[in-house]
């Protein structure tokens, strides 16, 4: 997320809470609890009913359908960009620099004489890959650490809470500038690693909160009384019920990570050529905006639409998973 750090102010004491910048309807997100039991009369349906209800809602939500279609399209062209773009994104002819739209080159050329259309199509792969992989990393690391801390509590939990505070206190863009400026690799992994490193506390805090809530449920207490092991409790009983808020926040965060990658590239510490990414293209086109605005507008537009699609998807999923809004 550009220019501001994401954070998740601690609201554990206050009981009800609100999300941080990453999570959109803020007050709705953290209060996500399991749907009240009587939703479906049969308690065996309980875990399923949340998801099936949500799915039922989502299928009829135009916002969800549109954003899912956009994302599907993005994933397809990320995997097979040559489906819709024939040239190579690295083929550039300086003689054509900054030229506008023309036959075979609908988006024109950028300052280096590369075809903007081809680069925009190929840029999707990097952005989507960074978004998805970083989100996966953040979600896995965050929910494992947060979940364990929430489940076991005690000293480990206290230490983890302080560590998350430490990470929240450091501005993200600043951390990126410092850490990524020494990286010489030109793959996408350093950027992903960086996002995971600074992003996990957000998920960890949410996972911790929802595990604590889930832990107090009667059926968990009952399972514990029956002698279920900790791992069984966590995996079979708590995780399925605690995962919803994580999914919601992660989907929305995905969009902001894509945007963050672009910001880092703008500051010169993000991805490096010959990687093709919207962030690189936006930052190199930005100074030329007066002479060749098209070279800035197309990748920016593609970036904005992608981020928008993921955020809207997250928004829709949240609405569907939040029983309070039913």
């Amino acid at each position: 997320m550009p220019d501001q750090e994401p954070y998740e102010p601690e609201r554990a004491i206050a009981g009800t809470g609100m999300g941080g910048t990453m999570d959109l309807g803020a007050s709705e997100a953290i209060t996500l609890e399991q749907p009240p039991g009587p939703d479906g009369a049969d308690p065996r349906d309980k875990p399923r009913s949340l998801w099936s209800d949500a799915w039922h809602d989502l299928r009829r939500n135009p916002v969800f359908i549109i954003s899912a279609l956009v994302i599907l399209f993005l994933i397809v062209i990320s995997l097979w960009p040559s489906l819709i773009a024939s040239g190579s994104p690295l083929k550039c002819d300086l003689a054509k620099a900054q030229e506008g739209s023309q036959a075979g080159h609908p988006f024109g050329f950028n300052g280096q004489g590369c075809d903007v259309y081809t680069r925009t199509v190929y840029g999707a792969r990097t952005s989507v890959a960074v978004g998805i992989l970083a989100t996966l990393g953040v979600a896995v690391l965050g929910s494992v650490l947060g979940g364990l801390a929430g489940f076991f509590g005690g000293g480990g939990d206290a230490i983890l809470s302080r560590i998350t505070d430490v990470f929240f206190a450091i501005p993200v863009v600043l951390g990126g500038l410092v850490l990524l400026s020494v990286i010489t690799s030109n793959t996408i992994w350093p950027v992903i690693g960086f996002i995971v490193l600074l992003g996990w506390p957000q998920i960890s805090r949410i996972a911790r909160g929802s595990v604590i809530t889930a832990k107090q449920n009667d059926y968990v207490q009952a399972a514990r009384a029956l002698g279920a092991s900790n791992s069984r409790l966590l995996l079979r009983h708590i995780a399925p019920n605690a995962v919803a808020p994580v999914i919601v926040v992660a989907t929305i965060a995905l969009g902001t990570y894509i945007s963050l990658e672009a910001t880092l590239s703008f500051l010169g510490v993000g991805l490096k050529p010959p990687s093709v990414s919207w962030g690189i293209d936006i930052s190199s086109a930005a100074p030329y905006v007066r002479n060749a605005p098209h070279a800035l507008l197309w990748p920016s537009g593609a970036l904005a639409i992608t981020v928008l699609a993921f955020i809207m998807l997250g928004d829709a999923v949240r609405d569907a998973l939040d029983p309070k809004l039913r």
Binding site: L94, Q112, V182, N186, G268, R290
Partner: protein, 544 residues
Amino acid sequence: MRGAEHAKWAACAAAVVLAATACGGGGGDGGSGGGSGGVLSSSWGDPQNPLEPANTNEVQGGKVLDMIFRGLKKYDPKTGEAKNMLAEKIDTSDSQNFTVTVKDGWTFSNGEKVTAQSFVDAWNYGASLKNNQRNAYFFAYIDGYDKVHPESGSQSADTLSGLKVTGPRTFTIKLNQKFSSFPDTLGYAAFAPLPKAFFDDHDAWLKKPVGNGPYQVDNYTRGSQMSLRKWDDYPGDDKAQNGGVDLKVYTDNNTAYTDLIAGNLDLVDDVPASQLKNVKNDLGDRYINTPAGIIQTLAFPFYDNDWNKSGSEKVRKGLSMAIDRKQITDTIFQNTRTPATDWTSPVLGEEGGYKPGLCGDACEYNAEEAKKLVKEGGGLPGGQVKITYNADTGSHKQWVDAVCNSINNALDNDRACAGNPVGTFADFRNQITDKKMSGPFRAGWQMDYPLIQNFLQPLYYTNASSNDGKWSNEEFDGLVDKANGQTDTAEAVKTFQQAEEVVRDNMAAIPLWYQNGSAGYSDRLSNVELNPFSVPVYNEIKVG
């Protein structure tokens, strides 16, 4: 704000006509200038090091020193020729022992007389290890330097034994080797005289430097602005033609340029490459583009076996021929650079050692030949070259990408070349000093003084301070030594050019282009020029 600004300017213009009062541009504290004309505002970058003459090694600090100091010599803003300024005469019979006579009648702006002692004290301060002066090595030719600035351990002397004050206005310099053009180096800022106040209350001096140039510092807010005002009693003949200069710090030269267009700034001396295309439109003839003593090259890591084996000079030559310099300077730089055909700079002039075409075919674009040479030389090491550069300053990304695209097109391989940005200049320099480069990297050279020696020796002499590629060649070293000992300038230049041919034959670095200085200015200014160091000649600028 904008409206108010304009109104103020109108009022200023009127006031200039009536009473010749100074007016601050863009909300400065106008009014303290007096004398001839108003105050102009100019873009500036925060100097990296404390503003001491022997501690300033970049253009932004150099700009200020150029305004507040005058040394023994001064480089002519037009020709670059070193002319006597404070020096009445500098005599030598053997190119090793010099006698300097300082002109009478010069003072610092605080009234103190400029004497031989002012110079000797300043140079001793600059050379002494304990003062941490970044430019200390400029004094390395003076006898006794190894005592005050040993390579390791602590210094055994505080003053240079080669400097002796022989009278109030005379001192002698003994060098540790013959160096015929040494007097011509004395126009460099590091050789400026310093007043007693510098040594007595150093902190106060740093807050508000005092010198002997046409301007004096009126107000200095570090990191944001410096106000310089005309020094009315300046004894030199290059008096300021304006009331003063407000230097304003900009983080980004694009922002400075937009501020100029919006009418909030009078002078930008670094027009960003991205704006060059519209500069004629924005400024009309208020834009200047003049050659400067700067050459951009690509250096190679000669400590890396891949680049230092037999045949690799063919690869380097092939890469050089794969770069379409003309197209890049036309398109990316809009002719503010000129394709390089030797390793010096046009500002030297042909008698100064500049020799167009010395590079020959090797600097001409020829895709076929390039492909052939690279193949003959054993191909690109690792199949791909990465051009390393620092991404935080200048418009390096644009040209590195363009160079790579040109190489890719010439070699018919999309992945033959890629730019490799390094986040910070400090890290870039670290990788160079730690010998971590694995392929060509950006090497720019801005001359310290307009001599061919300065374009060759610091860059290609074995273990020289800016020999970033660690290239070493006995023949070259021998020729440079020979040239330095030659008292006849024309002969020395010829020997230096022979040394340059050695550089060419080995393609020790690929010359890219000569850089021009470019500046844009507001319609309040006239007579704006850039000197060969690409710094505006502030004292000549007329306001109003």
